[in-house]
């Protein structure tokens, strides 16, 4: 580079165009490096490994084509996790309905609104390990002299019912229902807050008009609230698919995935880190990725309009954007 050119370059750097270039490079250097290193490289590796028989250290990986994918869908030990996610999917439908009901109650004229809202929301902030231990004790069946009945059995005893084993290795369905309940207990507060936000963004003149027409609460819900927040409800239900397949923490800590309560992600982690079959685990992660992509595409495709409308409305009302 000649001296003149260099001077020109330095001068260019001082212009706003030049600054834009320098600032872009400097500011994005670290974030982009981290993004590539911890997100894209692992993602590419994941796809590559998924076609290999591979151990933890990647010694002598062997190309096996689609064998890993076949295992996931044919081995009942792995396939059962899809079945288990259906419990959580069903549970999240119940959760949405309950959250909507609670949100509409909390939006009506009642006392101590903040207190109720706070109590119902708090579990969402609680440490997952703490929640899981609390519920392991909740479902406990007591042993004389060793431990008292768990909370649920104690409550049932108050009503004269026999205590029973809830997290029963013999009854995977019951155990799964219990875990779904814990998940509902923990996450419903978030949905309630979200629905409250949605309901409050409905213009109040609609309510006033319905009051004048003498609408009862159900009619008001059916004809004003429900249509206005329908896009959010559908969105939540679609996202529930993603949530149901990604369940991890609660069953991992409470039952360690035993008693037929393993989930897809628990199985993935177990395959990778206990059985050290990184190839198979990568294939599972790819399957999860594909499911996530499908859900997101569906969501983008069906809810683009609704979402944009809502964002506009929220901008108008000066609140943050939800999605």
């Amino acid at each position: 580079m000649t001296k003149k050119n260099r001077k020109g370059f330095l001068n260019w750097l001082k212009t706003y165009e030049g600054q834009k270039f320098v600032v872009s490079v400097l500011f994005l250097l670290v974030p982009l490096a981290l993004l590539i290193l911890f997100t894209f490289v692992p993602a590419v590796n994941m796809v590559g490994y998924s076609f290999q028989k591979r151990d933890q250290f990647g010694v002598n990986p062997e190309f096996v084509g689609f064998d890993n994918y076949k295992t996931i869908f044919q081995d009942p030990d792995y396939f059962i996790t899809f079945k288990n996610s259906l419990y959580y999917l069903a549970g999240s439908f119940v959760q949405q309905a309950l959250a909507l009901l609670l949100a509409s109650i909390l939006c009506s004229k009642i006392r101590a609104k903040g207190l109720f809202k706070g109590i119902l929301f708090f579990p969402y902030l609680m440490n997952g390990v703490a929640v899981s231990i609390i519920f392991q004790r909740f479902f406990l069946k007591g042993q004389a002299g060793l431990s008292p009945q768990g909370t649920l059995n104690s409550i049932l005893e108050l009503f004269g019912a026999e205590p029973r084993l809830w997290l029963d290795p013999e009854k995977p369905m019951l155990a799964n229902f219990c875990l779904v309940f814990v998940s509902l207990w923990r996450y419903i507060g978030f949905d309630i807050i979200m629905y409250i936000g949605a309901i409050q963004s409905i213009p109040t003149d609609l309510y006033e008009a319905s009051d004048l027409d003498g609408a009862n609460p159900w009619q008001r819900f059916r004809y004003i609230v429900f249509p206005s927040i329908k896009p959010i409800i559908s969105l939540q239900l679609i996202l529930a698919v993603k949530g149901a397949i990604s369940v991890f923490e609660i069953p991992y800590i409470i039952t360690a995935g035993n008693y037929g309560t393993s989930t897809f992600v628990i199985k993935t982690i177990e395959t990778a880190f206990s059985k050290k079959q990184v190839g198979l685990a990568s294939a599972m992660a790819v399957v999860l990725l594909i499911i996530t992509i499908i859900v997101t595409l569906v969501q983008k495709f069906f809810f683009r309009d609704g979402q944009e409308e809502r964002i506009k409305r929220e901008k108008k009302s000066g609140r943050g954007v939800r999605y």
Partner: protein, 288 residues
């Protein structure tokens, strides 16, 4: 309409609405009990001695509250250490996230070039990747970098894969008028200067939101520390509870005390920042 007319319209519904109101409260109270009872039982248990815990029902209040369990949990069972580690990780990750997040958002949101468009796309694409199962291959990279079993591993992951914060910063930035930047340019400020004196101060509410979200998610995260910090002296709040629960001899009353200690910071933060937490967490739901 006059007030008198209003009451007349409502009158036929009066009895019905009273029953409805009673049902509402009943339902709310039942739901709140469902939330509170499991926690209350743990609180009661944490105040009992070993024998008393085994021989009384979960609802029996302790004869004389024992605070010994809290002492044991704090000092004998590493809870203080875990709080220290958690605090270090949270502070450094939050700082890192705010610096990298605001810088990324600033460049991507303000300089609309092909390159920044591409970067934005890359970050949005990353939101698709399922977090936990990605660890299958992330683990190998962390291992190769030689940061396995150090606090650096979770810190770098919390900063490096924190797309939610970037997204929140971009949303907030899009609401800060560009004319502010332009007025800076007219005064002769350079872009770094604009970032530090105009953008950062204006992003304060977004930074608060991100801080809340990061605190809650890191404080409650179990899997990252469980996977990357196996050493005994690298416990964080989540893992210390998990280890207490999976120890060979479990003293449940001490575990209960540990749970209560671990909930207290969350409770304090929730009570003092309630309003911001509601709006903050909801706006952070981008990635969920």
């Amino acid at each position: 309409m006059t007030d008198a007319a209003k009451t007349q319209v409502k009158k036929p519904l009066y009895l019905g609405s009273k029953i409805l109101a009673a049902l509402k409260y009943l339902f709310l109270i039942i739901c709140c009990l469902v939330v509170l009872i499991p926690i209350a039982v743990v609180l009661i248990g944490s105040l009992k001695g070993t024998k008393e815990l085994a021989n009384t029902t979960v609802f029996t209040l302790p004869e004389t509250p024992v605070f010994e369990n809290y002492k044991t949990a704090m000092f004998a069972k590493d809870i203080i250490l875990s709080f220290r580690n958690t605090a270090v990780i949270i502070v450094i990750s939050c700082l890192g996230s705010i610096i990298t997040g605001t810088m990324t958002a600033f460049v991507v949101q303000r300089f609309k070039t092909y390159f920044t468009g591409f970067v934005k796309g890359a970050f949005l694409l990353a939101t698709l990747l399922p977090n936990i199962s990605m660890q299958v291959t992330v683990f190998q990279i962390v291992n190769k970098l030689g940061i396995y079993n150090t606090m650096l591993a979770p810190i770098i992951l919390y900063v490096g894969t924190d797309i939610v914060s970037i997204y929140i910063f971009m949303q907030f930035l899009s609401q800060i008028p560009v004319s502010l930047d332009e007025s800076g340019i007219i005064d002769g400020a350079s872009y770094p200067r604009i970032y530090f004196s105009i953008i950062l101060p204006n992003l304060k509410p977004a930074i608060a939101t991100v801080l809340i979200i990061k605190f809650v998610s890191i404080y409650n995260d179990f899997y990252t520390p469980q996977l990357y910090m196996q050493d005994d002296d690298l416990v964080v709040v989540s893992t210390v509870l998990y280890r207490l629960m999976n120890a060979t001899t479990i003293q449940w009353e001490v575990v209960f005390a540990g749970i209560i200690i671990c909930i207290i910071p969350t409770l304090i933060i929730f009570l003092s920042l309630q309003k911001y937490i509601y709006s903050g967490l909801v706006s952070g739901a981008v990635k969920e």
